[in-house]
Amino acid sequence: MALPSPPGLTPLEIAFLCEMEMVTVVPRQRLEGLELLGGPTKPLHPPHRTSLPLWLALLLKRQRRANILPPPWFHPTALTSILDFERSNTDQFTPPPPLPPSPPGTATTSPPFLSSSTADAPDGALPYHWLELGEILLDAAPDDIVDPDAVRRLMRDLREVRMAKMRAGVAVLDGSGMVGLKGVGGMEVSEGRAFISGVVDGLRKIGASREQALREREAEEGDDAYEDIAENAGEMDL
């Protein structure tokens, strides 16, 4: 481990985490339930739908043993309406899917364990792993997707609109501003991290002399103001 890796998760790692998402498959072949580390899977009986982790679904799809049912938000009409929302609301992202009202287990509140990409997920919201999941599905199971070309185009549009919004948010980062990241997906955070943290670092360098002056003054005045500055710095540290 000689090379220092950049802070945060790399896109590959995020895609790997995304493969833990549950997706709905229609099996084409029988398969007994598997005792996996992540928990047992249900036995597969064609044509009954079952939820499986994405990695297993991709494996079965590649062997033509199953068809993946794309989640409802991955339909062209749903994506179009999400895109419309993104375009008409310049200051916020599409909100993430709502948490299920009463989670059956207590630990299932974080993205890979929420069933936000199964066939019964809500269709008006993008889940945390939308970008990477969409790319994987388009790559591995284009024949199961309704109008894959339109979906591919919409995904690209969505991504560009949202990236533009994130970059626009950087403009307010110089001082005490904040960027609302509600609804931003995992891959987008990873992509934006390098840019935003670079901007923030740059801003910090530019403001270094001012900070220095501030620190000196604070040393004179006492330590009251110190805490505020620390908080500011903490916020910027993405």
């Binding site: 229609v26 084409r28 072949q29 029988r30 009986h45 064609p46 044509p47 009954h48 739908r49 043993r65 049912l69 899917p97 709502p98 948490l99 299920p100 009202p101 809500p122």
Partner: protein, 852 residues
């Protein structure tokens, strides 16, 4: 087929040699020809005198169309000119193209002229206001022919790239409705062969010379394949499927074709010097004539006259063209287009013969009557009407013989469906028609014979035989198969062990049953059994152990899986409707006595074939008023289910004990969450009930049956309709406890139903260990729901104590643990009195005192 009829007809030299075109005015009084010289000739029907010449026109005309007031001619110099029929003079230049005009078509009302030229764009110009132009731009190559639908709302465009483009013109912005591939040949625009589309006058189908592979012999041994337009293929407008063809008539490319005004006859001319007259219904040639190089042919709108022009510039007016023995065909009212399976055709509007004489009006003479002011086209109910009543909703009501609207739009007092027609003759009860669960009617030349969770069976009509394909969902467990079917099987069942087919009596051969096991340990032993003569199969069903057939003579015939006749008995309720079976149980349905709504009550009988016991005897299928059974099947646990036409799924509870059965609704598809927004227009086609889910196919856009490619199955959880539709859960996390309680109450009722079903099953069969543990698990779940309900009641307040105690009283648990837990819940909310009562109840239960 008759021999060549020949009455040598003298051609009238109308124009110098060259392509010559002609048209009749819609009233049939005048015939207009246009050819290669700069004169257009107008002949008067019934007069042999010299035609009127219109001299101030272009040379090399390529198309001519006419209304009663004007006509338009297109020419190779790119202009389309309009001439008045009043003055016989040039009126105006309608449109100018940069390239030669190839075809002009006029909408039935004469308001729009579609112009095809060697440009890529088809222009549709308003004939009154030529600044209003619609452009049709989808085609990639120049257009050869154009044809307006009889309603004027569609335009079919034969493009030189070999595709037919059908545009809808009913909106301001023309929409491409359909690209029909493989119908016509790709022909250059100036070629003599034709790729003209002709709409059948009833508007449900179109026909065109189709690309057929003909064989041309060159030399002694070598044969070369050429593509030629020899046949005329019809296509349905509803689903764009290929229908009947007028085949093997011509030996050369077809150059012109036209329907008779009522659609009962078709005339076609080819490069083989033949002019053929076909009967539409049978696609047989009824007369052959020999005329070389016909370019264009038209029927007289009302009389038995066919006129045609050839490339020598000659005009032929063939009076009494249809031989007298077939004249009745021409006199018939508007005929419907022949479809392979008439089931997919809507009834054509009833038009009586005198409607063909459009000019004869019932009322005349009132000065300034509305009819005179509006002109003949406004009030007429003919197929030119803009509104086409395609769904029978009645917004384009028929006009009766007196020019008035009929009273058909009023409901007869008997019911919603029955019209006055039926009330005229003696009253008859309405029967439930028989059906085969899981099958669809013909659409085009395909239909599903059976569609369930195992797989599907579908058949394709190949005219002389069918081809049947059986596909499975489980590709590993079963192998798909496909066979040619000379018996025309029309019903099928499929399960894990085999496939069952039945065919109707055909050409004197009796009806037949065919069972084909998927695989056995010996060589595959499929068998066929013939039914007695005169008996037709109304429905079949296949279980793990028996084959059940209900017949038109009201017999229920039971065979074993090896073809042994096992039982035969007559069904008590008749006529039979359908049957279903599961293991040894058979459910048959039939029409019973007439109910209050004038319709027969549907009765069902369930019996155990093996033990020869009747479980339910002629019990009533609970249907709402006017409802029909869409499908009947057994769930995977062996409980009978029906899905009715109002979209409710019902299951039969306690059906093993006679007289105890009742229908419980499991799901009302009208109350599904996905329909809550009111945006979606969809219906559900039932497939099965399995693993406590309803499996169905979602049909969108008013479709009634699934079609190809096979749609995906969808599944819905049961939800017993107890309350108005549940508010969508995504609206907020802090949901009101009322909604939660409703949900819990629903799952309480649902679980009590499934528990009852499971208990019945375990009591009736030697239950497996799994089933017993499942029962225990379900009981536990049931009590948990009650605990949750109890918690809500406790939270609500002290005064709800009585209800809370009642909830505890519902608990199934005999060990007392659940009641103990209930006491703890009450304790947590500080309801001490309630806790005490619960403890008392628990103690009573333990000593067995609460049996009242």
């Amino acid at each position: 087929m008759t021999a060549i009829t020949q009455q040598r007809l003298r051609g009238r030299p109308a124009h110098p040699p060259g392509q010559t075109y002609l048209t009749y005015t819609p009233d049939g009084k005048r015939l207009i020809t246009a050819g290669s010289n700069n004169a257009i000739r107008i002949y008067t029907t019934g007069s042999d005198g010299e035609p009127i010449n219109v001299d101030d026109c272009q040379e090399l005309n390529t198309a001519v169309v006419a209304t009663n007031d004007f006509f338009a001619a297109g020419s190779e110099d790119g202009t389309v000119c309009v001439y008045s029929l009043g003055t016989n003079m040039l009126d105006k230049v309608l449109v100018r193209c940069t390239l030669p005009v190839r075809d002009v078509a006029l909408s039935p009302d004469g308001d729009w002229a579609a112009v095809a030229s060697d440009e890529l764009v088809v222009k549709v110009v308003n004939t009154r206001d030529m600044s209003r132009v619609l452009y049709l731009r989808e085609q990639s190559k120049p257009v050869k022919h154009l044809a307006f639908h009889p309603s004027g709302s569609y335009l079919a465009v034969s493009c030189s790239d070999g595709l037919v483009y059908v545009y809808s013109l009913s909106t301001e912005d023309p929409q491409l409705v359909k690209k029909v591939d493989g119908l016509i040949r790709s022909l250059e625009t100036d070629e003599e062969a034709s790729s003209r589309i002709i709409w059948h006058p009833d508007g449900t189908a179109l026909a065109a010379p189709t690309a057929t592979r003909g064989t041309l012999y060159c030399g002694k041994y070598a044969a070369a394949l050429i593509w030629a337009s020899l046949d005329i293929q019809m296509i349905s407008r509803v689903d764009w499927e290929r229908q009947r063809a007028f085949a093997s008539g011509h030996m050369g490319d077809i150059t012109a074709l036209a329907w008779s005004p009522n659609g009962a006859l078709l005339a076609s001319a080819g490069m083989d010097r033949k002019l053929l007259l076909w009967e539409t219904k049978t696609q047989k040639i009824i007369a052959r004539y020999e005329y070389p190089s016909i370019v264009s042919l038209v029927w007289h709108p009302t009389e038995n006259i066919l006129s045609f022009t050839n490339s020598d510039g000659e005009l032929f007016i063939y009076t009494d063209f249809v031989p007298s023995e077939h004249l009745n065909l021409l006199k018939k009212p508007l005929q419907s287009a022949p479809f392979i399976h008439q089931t997919n055709v809507r009834e054509p509007p009833v038009i009586t013969a005198d409607h063909l004489q459009r000019n004869v009006r019932a009322r005349r003479g009132t000065p300034d009557s509305l009819d005179d002011i509006l002109g003949p086209d406004m009030m007429q109910d003919d197929e030119d009407d803009f509104i086409v009543d395609d769904d029978g909703a009645g917004y384009a009501e028929g006009v009766n013989g007196h020019g008035k609207r009929s009273n058909e739009h009023l409901d007869a007092p008997g019911g919603l469906v029955y019209k006055r027609r039926a009330m005229n003759d003696s009253w008859r009860p309405r029967f439930h028609p028989s059906f085969q669960p899981g099958s669809t009617p013909w659409r085009g030349n395909r239909k599903y014979l059976c569609l369930n969770l195992i797989g599907c069976v579908w058949t394709v009509d190949q005219d002389t035989h069918n081809t049947i394909t059986v596909e499975f969902y489980d590709r590993e467990y079963h192998r798909d198969f496909h066979f040619t079917d000379p018996y025309l099987y029309d019903k099928a069942c499929i399960n894990d062990y085999g496939t069952l087919f039945s065919c109707p009596p055909l050409n004197g051969a009796p009806a037949m049953i065919f069972y084909r096991p998927h695989e056995t340990w010996t060589s595959r032993a499929d068998w066929r059994t013939k039914l007695p003569v005169g008996e037709d199969v109304t429905s079949i069903s296949l279980s793990d152990s028996y084959v059940v057939v209900t017949t038109s003579t009201n017999y229920v015939r039971v065979f074993t899986l090896y073809g042994m006749p096992f039982r035969v008995y007559r069904q008590k309720s008749s006529p039979t409707v359908t049957c279903a079976s599961w293991r040894d149980y058979v459910l048959t349905m039939g029409n019973g006595p007439v109910g209050g709504d004038g319709k027969t009550r549907l009765l069902y009988t369930i019996e155990n074939i093996k033990r020869d016991e009747i479980c339910q005897n002629e019990d009533i299928v609970a249907l709402p008023e006017g409802g029909e059974v869409k499908s009947v099947f057994f769930s995977d646990n062996g409980d009978p289910c029906i899905y009715d036409s109002t979209g409710v799924l019902l299951i039969l509870l306690h059906w093993r004990s006679p007289g105890q059965a009742r229908w419980v609704p499991l799901l009302n598809t009208n109350l599904l969450d996905r329909l809550a927004g009111g945006r979606k227009e969809e219906s559900y086609w039932p497939v099965a009930v399995a693993q406590d889910k309803f499996h169905c196919i979602i049909l969108k856009g008013g479709e009634k049956y699934p079609y190809f490619p096979r749609p995906l199955l969808s599944e819905f959880d049961f939800r017993i309709p107890l309350s108005p539709e549940v508010v969508s859960l995504s609206e907020g996390t802090d949901e009101p406890s009322g909604t939660e309680a409703t949900k819990l109450e629903e799952s309480f009722v649902r679980n009590s139903v499934t528990l009852a079903l499971l208990e019945d099953l375990i009591a009736a069969t030697t239950a497996t260990h799994f089933q017993r543990s499942d029962l225990v698990r379900k009981e536990l779940e049931f009590d948990k729901i009650l605990l949750q309900l109890l918690a809500i009641e406790c939270r609500e307040g002290e005064e709800r104590g009585a209800k809370a105690l009642e909830i505890v009283g519902q608990m199934r648990d005999r060990s007392g643990k659940m009641i103990e837990a209930a006491g703890k819940v009450a304790n947590r909310y500080g309801r001490n009195l309630l806790e005490e009562k619960i403890r008392e109840l628990g103690e009573k239960r333990l000593v067995g005192m609460d049996e009242e």
